[in-house]
Subunit: 145 residues, 2 copies
Amino acid sequence: MKRNIVDTGRRSHCAISMALDTVGDKWSLLILRDLMFTGKRSYGELQSSDEKIATNILASRLVTLEKNDIIYKQPDPTDSRRYLYYLTEKGIDLLPVIIELMQWMSKYNPAASACTANTTAYKKDRVMLYKEMTRRLRKSHSQQG
Amino acid sequence: MKRNIVDTGRRSHCAISMALDTVGDKWSLLILRDLMFTGKRSYGELQSSDEKIATNILASRLVTLEKNDIIYKQPDPTDSRRYLYYLTEKGIDLLPVIIELMQWMSKYNPAASACTANTTAYKKDRVMLYKEMTRRLRKSHSQQG
DNA sequence: AATTTTACTTGCATATTGCAAGTGCAAAAA
DNA sequence: TTTTTGCACTTGCAATATGCAAGTAAAATT
């Protein structure tokens, strides 16, 4: 990477640009989708998604997501080989982004499947939808160990 | 690209994944941001953003965004060398995604600048914010020629 | 003790993006 | 009317990011 003398790795100070520098790669939001909607928690489970993320890419994304305080991992108490990945509050706060992406595609492509229920029903009351789902996520992702 | 016999170019039928296949690259959403908030309309203006997109990438993104019916272009009536780019309704419908990205980054990084006014004020009433801004975008991006 | 499972790592191929220079045409200047 | 400048791209090649297949180490299972 070669930008300027003091390289921050960011393209600009625009919030949108910075957000994309953090989660705007090809895979991060799909990993977060799995943590949010599919209940996947371990490396192997995350690797088993339909999109078939390459193992080295998964590993590298998990590291940077953790560095950016979007997820955290804890050893699985039932199997010490394994780690379990959870969303932080910052990660949970990406829910609206993901829901809006989903609703957008659903609106314009009928072939798109929803990944989680109850979103179309709430089309007119997104705030309600965000709140309800955030509440659920807080429950399942709050500090475990 | 080599996926399977009948390659659709998409990773799965998940709406989120499909949305990211469409606008999940490094630049598309930044181009849309400029069309939405900065009033930039021509190739040269779009190229002049802080993030310094490479000219060949800009050209290629504009083509695929147009193919995907997210933007459209028309000759500039005042200068026949130039085209002006506008958002379609489908493009305008990406506004919530972009706003949520912006608000997310603004919440977690104080160094992030907003790109457009009035968003923090509406933090608690996003639906209102979406509606108001969509209305404005419809005005400035509806068929011109 | 041997095999399987799990979370990665490593090496190399392919794809996407970045950079610098160039092209063609229309507008503006001389 | 000729020249110069401006604008929307294209082209060739370098650098970075992603994809694939195989490998490794440690813990669980048999």
